[in-house]
Amino acid sequence: MTSELDIFVGNTTLIDEDVYRLWLDGYSVSDAVALRVRSGILEQTGATAAVLQSDTMDHYRTFNMLERLLHAPPKLLHQLIFQIPPSRQALLIERYYAFDEAFVREVLGKKLSKGTKKDLDDISTKTSITLKSCRRQFDNFKRVFKVVEEMRGSLVDNIQQHFLLSDRLARDYAAIVFFANNRFETGKKKLQYLSFGDFAFCAELMIQNWTLGAVDSHVDDMDMDLDKEFLQDLKELKVLVADKDLLDLHKSLVCTALRGKLGVFSEMETNFKNLSRGLVNVAAKLTHNKDVRDLFVDLVEKFVEPCRSDHWPLNDVRLFLNQYSASVHSLDGFRHQALWDRYMGTLRGCLLRLYHD
């Protein structure tokens, strides 16, 4: 007696969250059954392994049929084939577009192209996430990227509207898309200590302040591309370190203000010029695409690492950066206050986020 055909179709489509997770994680039916058996479900329900096998197959079939719709979530809402309550639809979409931290760290900032897709095998071995799951996550990134690529309006809003994701997840995707578009390097060994959350945080700040959208909300790609004009202008900041008087004045202003407030004052004082040079040079280099890509490497190299080696507490870093940016306003000879604020405002936020072990 062999089972040729075995199906269950409900008027309301049954969604088993546990099986959905297993499916998303890319387990085969037999692996999923084995995992479910291990979860003790048989003892709880008194079911047999055969029942579990049949149930898992059913769910997998349903998910495979739903997958096509999940590629364009609004379709899932309007389709008539599967009757699914809205809360369940939301769950399906949210989970489908959720991604693994380990995976996203591997591809963040990489070009979402076929070439990278070949690397998925390696990523899968490295992260011990199944290849199937890697594919889904990668394809999700790529799909979102393709859809919102040449769109007007807020990146987060666009993602939310076209993929019906939660605010949190839409923001994450905005960061992924932003990183992929600008190809920021995130894979260097130096950057391994940084989490996706750190990068996403920076991405959000950069989208808000450094993109075209920050000045003009009626252009294509407004949230994806950095404001080229702004990057060009950043060269003007060079004067802060090139002009020795300005640099000294800046240093003395910062030191006066922070004397007694900083635990690492002496270290700051000795390192001030190096740090300032580092931060300003990063800005000045952003005209080149290559250097834009290395932004995070540079920030860590030029700022985070020196501070860390001197054991600056986070609070001291905050006080320093605040004072460092604010003091520029008192430099009479410096004319690019607005530019400085646009640059430093974002950078300060980023650096504070990046500054941890």
Binding site: L5, G10, F82, P86, A90, Q161
Partner: protein, 1083 residues
């Protein structure tokens, strides 16, 4: 020219990519009705075309309106080659033909292709203007309402229940015509779908005519079936119960201006003769005489062979089956004559009654209180027939000339051949009727018919429950002869139906009679088998449960007559065993009555399968069932004896456990009060007499187990051992689960609103080597048990819940394949109140009845917004606008009203937020246009309808589906019409579609989706009495092909949550007040 059909094609969405180069589609639509076709413009390069067509108008006879479906074909325009079809939508416009149902069909319909499945959706609006038809000799029956529900529909009252209506239509199956060799599978499938759609339309119209003939206005318990006879053709047949229904608290009082007064007239019940004076008109003959005077000896003898639970056997013997086709001649003639005379004389001539008395059958399974007086027991009849080609020279001629499927109506042809099927059924019905008479009953309730076809052999089956009905509800003196004096006595209603209708001294079969445990006045049998639902007033102890008997019998492969003979010879044994199994399982459960009994015998190439399902209960009026005794054949063997006693202990334990599980604890009653059973000698003599009468019967069976106690199991061979084992291996459902195959579970009456209807299909392949009956039985048993286990597991999140209306269907698609299809609904209930006594239940229902009226008062007010002319106040401008948009784009409006509010876990998530956002944005844009276009209201209307599709996209309205006639926690406020659909799906890329499971899974999901879409387009939010009547699955894995045919039906309804009703009642005053205020201001 009594009708104008108007169709508007609004838009499409999610269309498939038809042009690979551009990844787009140049779609247009053909709208076809009868022989008229209209086309929309081609909407270039879009997967979401907005045709927004003009109104296509078809001027047609109402006869055609009833028969023909509206056929909408979506195509991809191709400049150089032939246009490619994307898919089709068939819309049954019948629901628009009676005033109380839907007024407009409007909404998104899935575009269906028999090869590719659903390919996008199309938004269509359909309306019908019916003109007065004064022609008395018309062929249409517009206005007759059809219900699949096998009880009086919830918002109606039965004025008169007229009785049985039946009709069948035959045609050649397009799949088996010569032309099929040269056309594509798609063309063939579509021809078949269209033909069946036409045939069911015609069938329904004809049944409607019969109902009008009887002066009824509705058909309840309408059951339409297809017999795919292969080479010999296609039979569409239907049975139902004609009724005169009256809408409760007629909305006419609130809505004086209805669309067409003439239609309203039709609705008015013919209550001139609601009280047939049956007592006086009929000769009040004692029942005894009736039983004896009944003549056809053949049937009579068969009846006597029934067991004490009235399971009657009517296998046709070998001789009969071979030549049955020609045998029915004289009888058929008689029937035809009667039918004709009835048709000719519309007036109240005696012939009319004759005809109706022909088959006093009722397809209903639940009845108004007081309707059912006594229940005799199950009556069933089966007959084996050989299928012959339905010859029709005239038909062939038409086919050859036009290559179109002209519908065949056998009455219009002279050939005798097609009448064969009618005669076959007439024969079976006659049999049923005589069985009922033998049980002292004048009527059969819960009646149903079915077929099982394998190659050229066909088993026709009919079954029902013999009953005595209260003539108050029947139109005329149908039953006068059989009326009993007992009726006049004051019987307690709760046990009356259990009392035997037959004469205890001349019982048609031996039975243990006792005095009723409830009233102690009348005799009751020890067990009661019925095909109906448990009457609402019956007193039940504990809960019920699903009881199944499963059986397989191997059969040699044979041809034609030899095959038919072999089957006929096997049938009685199968019936006997199925019955024994049911009986034993019932005893094992400690119960004494079966409801909803359905015995299905399926014929295959090399085996027969029997599957009986029923719901066991403990009726308080019936005696406590005795236990099961096991007796060994070989005494004096110590170990054997020990084994036997061990088994006995196990059985006793199981019974005790079951009693606890189902909460069966009847009050103890001392035996003396009840009295002794009927003296034995008389019975025996009766039985002997009947046996001598029936010496011509080859297969004479004594289901009464002779002298032995009916529930002694004798273990004399391994076979019997198997039986006992299988009895004990039936696993009860896990805790928190109950199951039954009736409408509701006896003993549970606090349903909560969550329901989940589902269909599950399983096919197993038997290993062909050394198949024995035992192995086969075990396989089949395991298949069913595993299926049930799977269901319990899948639905575990709904606990505590009950699987209701569990409907198993078995088919044998190939030699070694067994297919089991289950459709049922899981309903949650409140565990805390699970132990309500029946008393409070009655009180509750009384309360509900009183509140019913109030609720109904509110409902018509709701209706007001639908029909503007009746509005008592001068409508304010705003109101007008909303109303006009309502009629223009009802789908959009409905989409918002039929929302997800019913879901307990109402979504507070961001999806809703986003939607809200989107809507506010859109609303903003509409506002600006309104100010611009305010000058011309027409333009505004157009604009709105154009913007309808994007507006409607917020959510797809939930449509509930249930095989039950009601929705727990809700009130059905309107019946919108019958849903009856036939689908074919075929694939030539089976592997690519996920194998057989993937293919069928997707197909069934699509069927559900299409049904839901049609219901939503009618303005409904649920399908009740849903049934999947057929699911024929064929595969050819070697060729990577599969085909499946599915036939479903049900009643589209509008329901309102009981909790919402209260809200409406509080809101109503303010809602109606506002327009009046603004109205005053404007005037």
């Amino acid at each position: 020219m009594p009708g104008k059909l108007k169709v508007k094609i609004v838009a499409g969405r999610h269309l498939p990519v038809m042009d690979r180069a551009s990844d787009l589609t140049d779609a247009f639509v053909e709208v076809k009705f009868g022989n008229t076709t209209f086309k929309t413009d081609v909407y270039l390069k879009s997967l979401n075309p907005q045709w927004n067509s003009e109104w296509f108008k078809f001027e047609v006879d109402d006869e055609d309106l009833q028969d023909e479906p509206l056929q909408i074909t979506v195509l991809d325009h191709d400049t150089y080659s032939a246009n490619d079809a994307i898919g089709k939508v068939y819309i049954d416009i019948d629901p628009l033909l009676y005033s109380e149902a839907a007024t407009v069909i409007s909404g998104w319909f899935p575009i269906y292709d028999t090869i590719h499945g659903i390919r996008g959706e199309i938004n269509v609006v359909v309306k019908v203007d019916l003109f007065n038809d004064l022609n008395r000799f018309r062929q249409s029956s517009c206005g007759v309402k059809f219900f699949c529900t096998t009880s009086i529909p919830k918002c109606y009252r039965a004025v008169i229940i007229h009785g049985f209506v039946e009709e069948l239509v035959v045609n050649e199956d397009p799949e088996y015509q010569w032309i099929d060799r040269i056309r594509t599978p798609r063309a063939s499938n579509e021809a078949r779908q269209r033909l069946i759609s036409l045939m069911s339309g015609e069938l329904q119209r004809k049944i409607g005519l019969k109902v009008l003939e009887m002066r009824g206005n509705a058909v309840v318990g309408y059951l339409q079936c297809f017999d795919l006879e292969g080479e010999s053709g296609l039979v569409v047949r239907a049975i139902g119960t004609a009724c005169t229904l009256d809408k409760l608290s007629s909305p006419a009082a609130f809505l004086p201006a209805c669309n067409s007064p003439s239609k309203e007239m039709k609705e008015i019940p013919f209550n001139e003769d609601p009280n047939p004076n049956t007592h006086s008109s009929g000769p009040s003959t004692p029942l005894k005489n009736q039983t004896y005077s009944f003549s056809p000896s053949k049937s009579y003898s068969r009846q006597s062979s029934s067991s004490d639970t009235d399971l009657s056997l009517t296998p046709k013997t070998g001789m009969g089956s071979g030549s049955a086709g020609k045998e029915g001649g004289p009888f058929k003639a008689l029937l035809r004559q009667q039918t004709q005379s009835a048709l000719e004389q519309r007036g109240g001539s005696p012939h009319r009654f004759c005809r109706r008395r022909e088959f006093p059958f009722f397809t209903l399974t639940a009845f108004p209180p007081g309707f059912l007086v006594h229940v005799g027991g199950v009556v069933s009849a089966r007959s084996v027939k050989l299928l012959d080609r339905i010859h029709n020279p005239a038909f062939v001629g038409i086919m050859g000339n036009t290559r179109s499927y002209k519908l065949l109506d056998w009455n219009s042809f002279n050939s005798d051949e097609p009448e064969t099927r009618d005669a076959w059924w007439a024969e079976i019905r006659q049999e049923i009727k005589s069985h009922a008479k033998a049980l002292g009953c004048h009527a059969v309730v819960g009646y149903s018919e079915s077929t099982s076809i394998c190659e050229e052999v066909c088993i026709l089956s009919a079954s029902g429950t013999a009953a005595v009905l209260n003539p108050r509800f029947l139109q005329d003196g149908t039953v006068e002869g059989c009326l009993e004096q007992r009726l006049d006595e004051n019987l307690p209603t709760c046990c009356g139906f259990c009392h035997i209708p037959y004469d205890e001294l001349n019982m048609p079969f031996p039975a243990h009679l006792t005095y009723c445990y409830n009233c102690r006045k009348q005799k009751v049998p020890d067990v009661l088998f019925t095909t109906i639902d448990l009457p609402t007033d019956a007193t039940v102890i504990g809960k019920g449960c699903l009881i199944q008997a499963r059986l397989c019998r191997l059969k040699k492969k044979a041809q034609a007559e030899a095959n038919a003979t072999a089957i006929s010879n096997l049938l009685p044994f199968m019936e006997y065993e199925v019955h024994t199994q049911l009986m034993n399982k019932l005893k094992l459960k400690g119960m004494n009555a079966l409801f909803g009994l359905r015995i299905q015998i399926t014929v295959g190439e090399n085996m027969l399968m029997g599957l009986a399902s029923a719901t066991g209960v403990y009726l308080a009026a019936l005696p406590t069932p005795g236990g099961i005794q096991i007796a060994g054949k070989t005494p004096n063997d110590g170990s054997y004896e020990q084994h036997i006693s061990h088994m006995q202990k196990k059985i006793n334990d199981t019974i005790a456990k079951n009693k606890e599980l189902y909460e069966i604890n009847p009050p103890e009653i001392s035996e003396e009060i009840i009295g002794s059973p009927i003296p034995e000698p008389r019975q025996r003599s009766r039985l002997l007499r009947s046996q001598s009468e029936s010496s011509d019967e080859v297969t004479e069976l004594d289901l009464s187990h002779g002298k032995k106690d009916a529930f002694v199991l004798e273990i004399d061979d391994t076979d019997a051992m198997e039986d006992v084992h299988s009895l004990l291996t039936d696993v009860p459902p896990p805790s928190g689960f109950y199951s039954c195959n009736t409408e509701i579970m006896p003993g549970i009456n606090n349903w909560t609103s969550e329901i989940q209807m589902f269909t599950s299909v399983r096919v197993i392949r038997l290993s062909s080597l050394n198949l024995t009956n035992q192995a086969l039985n075990k396989n089949f048993n395991d298949l069913c048990e595993n299926l049930l286990k799977s269901l319990y597991f899948k639905l575990r999140s709904m606990i505590p819940c009950c699987l209701c209306h569990v409907n198993f269907t078995v088919s044998l698609p190939e030699d070694e394949l067994i297919q089991v299809t289950v459709t049922a609904v899981a309903i949650t209930f409140d565990k805390n109140q699970a132990l309500q006594t029946t008393k409070t239940h009655v009180e509750k229902s009384l309360q509900r009845a009183s509140t019913d009226n109030e609720e109904l008062l509110q409902f018509p007010l709701e209706l007001c917004s639908d029909s503007l002319p009746s509005h008592p106040f001068p409508p304010a401008k705003e109101h007008l606008e909303s109303a006009s948009s309502n009629s223009g784009i009802p789908a959009a409006q409905r989409a918002t009203s039929v929302d997800y509010s019913s879901f307990a876990d109402r979504c507070s998530s961001w999806i809703e937020l986003i939607k809200l956002k989107a809507q506010t944005i859109r609303r903003g844009s509409i506002k600006t246009t309104v100010t611009v276009e305010k000058a011309s209201p027409m333009a505004e209307g157009n604009f709105r309808s154009r913007s309808a599709p994007p507006c409607a996209n917020s959510t797809v309205g939930v449509v509930k589906m249930t095989p039950l006639s009601f929705i727990p926690g809700a009130k059905i406020t309107k019946y919108l019409g019958i849903i009856n659909m036939f689908f074919i799906r075929e694939t030539t890329s089976l592997r690519e579609e996920g194998g057989v499971s993937g293919f069928l899974h997707a197909f069934i999901a699509e069927v559900f989706a299409i049904v839901r879409a049609h219901v939503a387009a009618l303005g409904g939010n649920a399908v009740v009495s849903y049934i999947m009547k057929q699911c024929v699955f064929m595969e050819n894995p070697n060729k990577n092909q599969a085909q499946c045919l599915i036939n479903v039906s049900g009643d589209a309804v509008v329901f309102v949550r009981e909790s919402d009703l209260e809200v409406v009642s509080t809101q109503q005053p303010t809602a109606t007040c506002q327009p009046s205020c603004t109205g005053e201001v404007t005037t």
